[in-house]
Symmetry: C2
Subunit: 284 residues, 2 copies
């Protein structure tokens, strides 16, 4: 494997201090090393090649909705599995260089979603110019590098210590119910005994009632559908790739064997059924 | 109403020549006047206020997927209905000022999606700088205004005549199966006798099997579910607002009366059921 010190290597998209790194640390604790990369696609690529052991990819935010690129990445990378998941709370601070005061600030940098999610706070400072950055931690790094008291970043608290910044304000998000759900991807499917979630991909047959029949299989097996997502299939207008997450808490027996039976039945009702994983989610 | 000459006024987002204007003209023919506005939200706002009669909003592209802002706009504007729909084929040209040749071009302007959807063609001109514009017609207008033979725009053919540009290349999209589906929104729900589509919004109860039971109602009534979309509900993590489109072609009787019966049954299984419209779709 790609790691040394016997610790697996986990790729995430962003810079140290970003929410994806926090998810990786929250999930693996001290049992993995993290590797920042520049795109979600690069994570899927590295997992497929085996140059990293795991990837940590955001799949859904409770305010913004699904991260559609990553649903599509599962379609584009057929050899990738989900081995775990974690939902983390997103909270933002206003960060600036040491000694800066709120009245010094003239420009505020962050990812467009983070600027949007702190719009009530930023609305009280209408004279601040809002500048979009590629990600929140990149904004914090940039503010640190400029050394100017006129610049601030909207980013999570941990960036203050990483980039030697002061925290001018905490918890500035409009809605405290802000969570992002990440999934752990890996090349070889691992069986987990205490798994309580399963994820599938499938295509519905192009005939009336097909999706209803597919969900009927999941229902008959006593699983609880917690998420159903669909994405267009390029070149096949108005046909869809579906993604389903089910909760296995109420089933009896070994989850992996149980899911095998579900898959068999699903294949009778759906096309191109693919098991993404049978896994546990931290904090759910 | 807001129109003069007895012609209804239809708001769309973009500039003359954009696909949304083409959808409005395709749907209403010569029976309406069009009004360009700057955002989707402004369309919903103007329809709600009654300052326009209709709005033409994109809801889904066959390559890019749902236009999620407009699903959310239906939630934010409760008094808006769908009275019709139209799917139009998206095709792109390379446009430049009169007399310009392909070898003159150094910069190409367009909406990021249009640049992405013509990436094979643009990949043959790696020396061209790609510059993102707010929309395709705005890019064509900008190129026209610069008057420079070094600039080109990726936009639909009609922009050539509107902005007095030459067509350097036609049909440059990677995938010819590129369609965008628009819906016509209006303030008062209109009954259409030859309607063959109905759209609903609802929330699934937070209990196992709830979505399956809801789709069971649509199935029992003999409708064909053609689209199911879900969006997060702000402040209620992991709960979803659902949107369903059904095809009514196989039902017997007056569509409006039939849909009333569906709604009654749906209300037993789902929360906050809202009928968005019973309507016809042009070209489907």
């Amino acid at each position: 494997m790609a790691s040394d010190n016997n610790k697996p290597l986990v790729a995430y998209c962003g810079k140290p201090g970003c929410n994806a790194e926090a998810a990786a640390i929250g999930y693996f604790r001290e049992n993995a090393k993290t590797l920042p990369v520049d795109s979600f696609q690069e994570i899927f690529q590295k997992v497929t090649e085996g140059t990293v052991d795991y990837g940590m990819v955001p799949i859904e935010n409770s305010l913004g909705g699904s991260v559609y690129q990553n649903y599509d990445n599962f379609r584009n990378y057929p050899d990738v599995f989900i081995s775990g998941a974690i939902a983390i709370k997103i909270s933002y601070c206003l960060l600036a260089v040491k000694g800066a005061k709120t009245e010094d600030i003239k420009k505020v940098y962050s990812h467009p979603q983070a600027l949007l999610q702190t719009s009530r706070f930023l609305g009280n400072h209408k004279d601040w110019q809002q500048i979009e950055a590629y990600n929140t931690s990149g904004a914090a790094l940039f503010v640190s590098e400029t050394g100017s008291k006129e610049n601030a970043a909207v980013a999570s608290e941990i960036n203050a210590s990483i980039y030697n910044l002061d925290i001018l304000a905490r918890g500035i998000e409009d809605d405290p119910n802000n969570y992002t759900r990440f999934v752990v991807i890996t090349k070889e499917r691992k069986t987990v005994d205490d798994a309580h979630m399963a994820s599938f991909m499938f295509k519905a047959k192009h005939e009336p009632g097909s999706l209803y029949k597919i969900l009927g299989v999941l229902n008959d097996f006593g699983t609880n559908l917690t998420r159903l997502e669909s994405r267009p299939i390029p070149g096949r207008p108005w046909e869809y790739q579906f993604y389903a997450d089910v909760d296995l808490k109420s089933i009896s027996g070994q989850p992996d064997d149980y899911v095998k039976k579900i898959i068999e039945k699903l294949k009778e009702k759906a096309e191109e059924v693919r098991l993404l994983g049978v896994y546990s989610e931290v904090g759910r």
